[in-house]
């Protein structure tokens, strides 16, 4: 290992920041909504980007909560991307391939390209 930065510490920091930011957004959205009912029977968009878009067109509470949930949901992807950069900097070929493969599968899944429907 020739790069000094400790990957564990960097990822730990990333996870804490992402979850905190997501929770703050969720709390803000829920507070603004005034604790109204969460009705699961209304229209629910079927992608993360549509959640946020639908939220934005339906007022601040929904936009904030959607953004917060999306943020938290994407943390594992963000830490994969960060690990990939770290492995590239450390010229760790085996893990550039493994992490790269995980990142590609996740990207395809997030954008809805992996599906049997």
């Amino acid at each position: 290992m020739n790069v000094k930065y400790d990957l564990e510490k960097i990822i730990s920091l990333l996870l804490i920041s992402c979850v905190s930011a997501g929770l703050i957004l969720i709390v803000a959205g829920l507070t603004l909504s005034g604790g109204k009912v969460a009705n699961s029977e209304e229209y629910i968009p079927s992608s993360m980007s549509d959640w946020v878009a639908h939220g934005v067109s339906n007022g601040a509470p929904r936009a904030l909560v959607s953004l917060g949930v999306t943020f938290i949901l994407l943390t594992p992807f963000l830490r994969t991307a960060l690990s990939l950069v770290w492995f590239i900097l450390n010229k760790d070929r085996v893990y550039i391939v493994i992490t790269g493969a995980v990142a590609i599968v996740l990207l395809l899944a997030i954008f809805g390209f992996i599906s049997i429907f």
Binding site: L7, E8, K9, I11, S12, L13, L15, I16, C18, V19, G22, L23, I26, V27, G29, L30, S33, G35, K36, V37, A38, N39, S40, E41, I44, P45, S46, S47, M48, W51, G55, R62, V65, S66, G68, V69, T70, I72, L73, L74, T75, P76, F77, T80, S83, V94, Y95, I98, T99, A101, V102, V105, L106, A109, I110, G112, I114, S115, I116, F117
Partner: protein, 272 residues
């Protein structure tokens, strides 16, 4: 089905608390609670899977700082769990609901029985693949540095597809199952297995969630309050876990597991 935000936060709190106290994980408890309140099982699974990502990230942060988590082992095993997670979630969307109730009960029962049997095997030498994958490490325990090496990664990896499949199909972390593979097959120390499993379940959760999001079953307004609740609940649970005896924690775990198994079996029979 209409659920109040306050109710959802409370469900998350209770599930997060009991989940970290029992080692079952919050999601394994959220799904039975939601189902008990009349939420369709697929909706319950789809929404609880998202909470796993938050709980995993929150609890992994301190394990990472203490160097218990083996990031290389996690990366390699995630390659398998994410495939399992995506396939499992897709199967869950397609099959009739009653199958999911029975599978849920069966998987919890199997985990309960298998995990009792697994004995950690920390001795042994590295094989070729494990050496290439550099799955070894060291961490501080009680003031001394402990070194460990992995092995059997050629078997341990593919086994993780099964763990991912169950996690994806049932919307749970399947953490105990993943820990069992890491301890019993790959030979990682208990602390490293627990920390690394905690880390991996978030990734598996995301992979499965992508499938459920596409079906339109995941509602940010249901997930948001649940995440808030489980985050606070699991932190409280882990604090208390350090203060109660292993025997008490084990009793909570077994009692809770048996209760959930019964509830899911009853629901399953009703759904046929």
């Amino acid at each position: 089905m209409v659920l109040n935000i306050v109710t959802l936060v409370a469900i998350g709190l209770g599930a997060g608390f009991l989940g970290s106290l029992s080692g079952l994980g919050g999601a394994s408890i959220i799904t039975p609670i939601l189902v008990g309140l009349g939420v369709p099982v697929k909706t319950a699974i789809a929404n609880s899977v998202v909470t796993i990502v938050a709980t995993s990230a929150g609890s992994s942060a301190s394990y990472l700082r203490d160097h218990y988590t083996n990031i290389r082992a996690a990366m390699y095993l995630e390659l398998f769990t994410i495939m399992g997670g995506i396939i499992g979630a897709s199967i869950a969307v397609l099959v009739p609901s009653w199958i999911l109730y029975f599978f849920f009960a069966f998987f919890l029962l199997a985990s309960l029985l298998i995990i009792e049997k697994i004995k950690p095997k920390e001795e042994g030498s590295m094989d070729k693949l494990t050496a290439i994958l550099k799955i070894h490490g060291r961490y501080w325990e009680n003031g001394r540095l402990r070194e460990y090496v992995g092995r059997n990664t050629a078997i341990g990896g593919p086994l993780m597809i099964i763990a991912g499949l169950a996690a994806g199909a049932l919307g749970i972390g399947a953490g105990a199952f993943k820990t069992a593979i890491m301890e019993g097959v790959i030979g990682l120390p208990v602390k490293v297995s627990t920390a690394t499993s905690n880390f991996i379940i978030g990734m598996t959760g995301l992979a499965a969630a992508t499938v459920y999001v596409k079906t339109g079953l995941v509602d940010p307004f249901i997930v948001g309050p649940l995440i808030l609740g489980t985050s606070i609940g699991s932190i409280t649970g882990s604090r208390i876990l350090g203060k109660i005896s292993d025997k008490k924690a084990k009793m909570v775990s077994v009692a809770l597991t048996l209760y959930i198994i019964m509830q899911m079996l009853i629901k399953g029979v009703q759904a046929i």
